[in-house]
């Protein structure tokens, strides 16, 4: 698994009589538990733990594999420990930090198999934390991009690809921008002509100017002023058109990206969302795409135009007077360095402000969302105090940030514009020595004024690009995440499944090293109803998640009608496996739309029939808007029992061959309960049904009951059989009847 250093390998060979190394795993902790290194090395029949030393590596453990009764990678806080049971004694072998948990988890599984005389399971991709080869940052499974070392050029290229379809418009926008920027170069030049050719000539004629000359000069003056107005107007008009095109381009391109991103999100597996907060995913869509819009629509243009103007101005300056030009840009390198230092500093202070803001937000949303709880326990004052502490921290950070900004920026501006003073002096001397005309000097100063803005922007450019690339990376990462693994080649179309289900020795864990289902083996006939019983955490919902193919079993498989569900076309599978979840989620929309969610083309008659069968029709009719009552967010609020019956109606209309029923835990009154039970009885008829019930009484229709405990099947049989067995199920039933009678009496 890991590359073994030579001296350790030779040491192991020496004590193992030349046996080959089978597996080597490196720990990031030394034998003393401090940061360091040690190795778990196995040969065909022995296990060693070796740590490097200045001299010969030290062997800490040397155990024959056949003596291992058991070996486990124990999960601890912040790390783990490989623990072996050697002839009845527990021996901690190697400690490691979480960074190595996957590797040792695999080592334990492998040794366990070898000790039992089974074949060693091969290491898969998930048994190793894949890391960026450059910076050691762990990569997510299925992602090869290291956010730190991402190839910037590649990301930019990919980002620019979004401009592709709008090449022509982008070209026009760029040309307009170029024109408009070039126009801005004219005014200082025209000023020079005004000063040197017109006003100066007038000045040379002491006293009155001859009439013809006055006319000539007046005419020239008019032309120059008109030209000044003209360039300004043309530049403005070009600018307006360019901005309008840009606005369209930016909004349209970001629409494209957002759409693509959202479409990829909807295709991702359930497990992708398990690991992430929905809020974080939503903010990624909105914030990161916004950042990209800013970049594609404005920043690129802004950067290009400013770079362009910088180059043009410098070119004009050098063309006019290279000596003065050189003096002008003399402070630029220093200014750039200063700008970089200052903006780095500002980034730190402002990100601290941002961090404190989000903490304040956290306090606010916490206590406002939980307002009822706050009030119920009269904790308003405590919440205000908590808020005050956060707010104060924010104000301090904010103040410091603003003060830093207010201090550093003028200094930067001063350094940046210092060239001006050099030009005033050197240019002034030039004028005195008659080497430079007044017009040239004024023109220079005009151009210099145009230089500083772009210079400042160019120095910040990398910062912007960096930030946008970070956003683009996060966006692309979602787009590139593996969607539900579909192999179109192997997808068997099964438009009419019968409903036979088999779990063949299924082992599964959301985290591979912590299985929650162990070796589940269950065969269900079409039309049979199976009740799943067990304490919470026993694995009932997990079993159902596997049947719905939200997750794939790690060992063994799930079959429908004898076909591995991995090979069944997802469309056919989802159409014929229906789920009534514990929390019936209603989308914003009408009741009718919610019932017809899986079958939008359903006729009103079909919807009514489904609602009627679900005992939902009567309460729906009693809403003033009937089936068109708005539900979901900001809609009519429904009781738990009502939502449940709408979910049942949804499932009835969906008409699946296999039904997964996760009974709601929320208690309803006995009348509603009866109605729901009736509705469910109609729903499960002629379908293979898996029902997770928390009240065992509701499983009375079940043909067989599957009792799970800690992920293992402990009992399977009919109610009567299991009662006669007097095992786990019987005990659960007894407990519930006691509580029920208790409630009935005590009420």
């Amino acid at each position: 698994m890991h590359e073994l250093p030579d001296e350790i390998e030779s040491r192991v060979r020496e004590i193992a009589d030349g046996a080959d190394v089978d597996l080597a795993v490196e720990s990031d902790l030394g034998p003393d538990g401090l940061m360091g290194k040690q190795w778990l090395v196995t040969t065909k029949d022995r296990l060693y733990v070796v740590s490097p030393d200045s001299g010969i590596p030290i062997v800490h453990h040397d155990i024959p594999v056949k003596d291992l009764n058991e070996i486990n990678a124990e999960i601890q806080v912040g790390g783990g420990c490989l623990i072996a049971n050697v002839k009845g004694e527990f021996v901690p072998l190697v400690r490691y930090s979480n960074a190595m948990a996957k590797e040792f988890g695999y080592a334990a599984r492998r040794l366990q198999s070898v000790a039992k005389g089974e074949d060693a399971p091969p290491a898969t991709e998930e048994d190793r934390t894949r890391r960026c080869s450059k910076c050691n940052f762990p990569l997510e499974t299925g992602s090869d991009v290291c956010p730190n070392c991402v190839d910037k050029a590649r990301a930019i290229k990919r980002l620019l690809a979004y401009i592709g379809p709008y090449r022509l418009l982008s070209g026009i926008a760029a040309a307009l921008m170029l024109g408009s920027q070039a126009m801005q170069l004219a005014p200082p030049y025209l000023t020079k002509i005004l000063l040197d050719d017109i006003l100066k000539k007038a000045e040379l004629h002491k006293g009155t100017v001859p009439l013809d000359m006055r006319h000539h000069l007046g005419f020239m003056l008019g032309i120059i002023v008109l030209a000044l107005v003209g360039t300004r107007v043309v530049s403005m008009v070009m600018g307006i058109f360019q901005s309008r095109i840009t606005a369209y381009l930016g909004s349209k391109m970001i629409h494209d990206i957002r759409l693509q991103l959202y479409a990829s999100l909807e295709r991702l597996t359930v497990s992708y969302f398990d690991k992430r907060q929905t809020g974080a995913v939503i903010s990624r869509i909105s914030q990161d795409t916004n950042a990209l819009q800013e970049f594609l629509a404005f920043d690129i243009q802004y950067m290009l135009s400013n770079t362009l103007i910088l180059v043009l101005v410098i070119a004009v300056l050098f063309q006019q007077n290279w000596k003065l030009a050189a003096l002008t840009i003399l402070p630029a390198p220093f200014a750039s360095i200063a700008a970089m230092i200052i903006f780095t500093r500002l980034r730190w202070v402002f990100s601290r402000v941002w961090h404190r803001w989000s903490k304040l937000h956290g306090v606010m949303s916490d206590s406002l969302q939980g307002l009822r709880v706050v009030k119920a326990f009269a904790q308003e004052e405590k919440e205000v105090n908590r808020f005050e502490r956060r707010s104060e921290a924010l104000y301090l950070a904010n103040m410091q940030a603003e003060q830093t900004w207010a201090t550093l920026l003028p200094i930067l501006w001063f350094v940046l514009t210092a060239g001006q003073f050099i030009v005033w002096y050197a240019g002034g001397i030039g004028v005195i020595d008659k080497q430079v005309t007044v017009g040239t000097l004024v023109m220079f100063l005009g151009y210099i004024g145009m230089l500083y803005g772009p210079l400042q922007i160019v120095t910040r450019m990398w910062d912007w690009i960096g930030r946008s690339l970070a956003a683009s990376e996060r966006v692309f990462e979602i787009m590139d995440s593996q969607p539900e693994e579909v192999d179109p080649e192997k997808q068997t179309r099964m438009p009419n499944i019968e409903g036979k289900v088999a779990f063949n020795h299924v082992t599964f864990g959301y985290d591979k090293n912590r299985p929650v289902l162990h070796d589940l083996d269950l065969h269900v006939e079409a039309g049979e109803m199976i009740g799943l019983v067990g304490h919470s955490g026993a694995g009932k919902s997990t079993t159902m998640n596997l049947l719905a193919r939200f997750y794939i079993a790690q060992e063994g498989n799930v079959e429908i009608d004898g076909v591995d569900i991995r090979d069944i076309s997802l469309e056919d599978l989802r159409r014929q496996v229906g789920i009534v979840p514990q929390e019936s989620y209603l989308f914003s929309g009408t009741i009718a739309e919610n019932i017809a969610y899986s079958k939008p083309e359903a006729t009103p008659e079909e919807i009514i029939r489904a609602a009627k069968a679900a005992n939902a029709h009567d309460f729906i009719v009693n809403f003033s808007d009937g089936y068109e009552t708005q539900v979901g967010e900001r809609g009519q609020s429904l009781s738990g029992g009502e939502r449940q019956r709408i979910a049942i109606a949804r499932a009835i209309l969906h008409d699946p061959k296999i039904l997964i029923l996760d009974e709601a835990t929320s208690s309803v009154d006995s009348g509603t309960e009866k109605q729901i039970q009736e509705a469910l009885a109609r729903l499960v008829k002629n379908r293979t049904t898996f029902a997770i019930a928390h009240r065992l009484s509701t499983l009375s229709h079940a043909n067989r009951l599957l009792v799970l405990e800690k992920g293992k099947m402990v009992e399977l049989g009919t109610h009567e059989e299991l009662m006669a067995k007097d095992g786990v199920y019987a005990k659960l039933v007894k407990m519930q009847t006691e509580i029920a009678s208790q409630v009935a009496v005590g009420g």
């Binding site: 940061m35 806080v77 979480n98 910076c135 991402v150 202070v349 601290r352 006691e738």
Partner: protein, 173 residues
């Protein structure tokens, strides 16, 4: 109330506190602890967990068996004999790999997070974390638990840092 149910509830809610005289400990060569309850059975290997790791690090230690069932709770380690106390503390230490940051040499901004170059009580380490918000939690005022990209945890008391380190930290939070 039905007396049976009452009893059930009491049973479910009852916690066994282990007084020093209730048990004996022994330690095997490998370092795993064995607990024998007085007049009762013996557990080959026990696991210890802190229940209030931040507020009462030396009190309320849950002792569990291999299948993670609780054997009982030791209310205060100070009540144990020095030897037992050391054994239990060693076991706890082994189970909590949470190096304490003593010095921050530098914190570098990197894409998608930070690189910390720190010296901990377990040695020097380069720690890579994602953004501040997700990775630093202030468990008590001035006391942070930092979780790195691998899920490793580091503890940091801002009050106990030297001035230079604290200054670096304060740029961040």
């Amino acid at each position: 109330m039905d007396p049976d149910i009452q009893q059930n509830l009491d049973e479910a809610a009852s916690v066994r506190y282990l007084a020093p005289e209730d048990f004996a400990l022994s330690k095997n060569e490998g370092g795993s602890l064995r607990m024998t309850l007085k007049d009762d059975r013996s557990y080959l290997r026990i696991k210890t967990r802190r229940i209030f790791p931040f507020t009462y690090p030396t009190k309320y230690v849950s002792v569990r068996d291999l299948s993670d069932e609780e054997i009982g709770i030791i209310s205060d380690l100070a009540s144990l004999s020095p030897e037992y106390r050391r054994w239990i503390e060693d076991d706890i230490d082994m189970r909590y790999f949470t190096p304490r940051v003593k010095t921050i040499k530098t914190i570098k901004r990197r894409w998608g997070g930070f690189e910390w170059y720190v010296i901990t009580d377990h040695g020097a380490k380069k720690v890579i974390t994602k953004g501040v918000h997700d990775t630093m939690s202030e468990v008590q005022p001035g006391r942070y638990i930092i979780t790195d990209v691998d899920g490793n945890r580091y503890e940091l008391y801002s009050q106990k840092l030297d001035d230079a380190s604290r200054e670096i930290l304060e740029r961040l939070v």
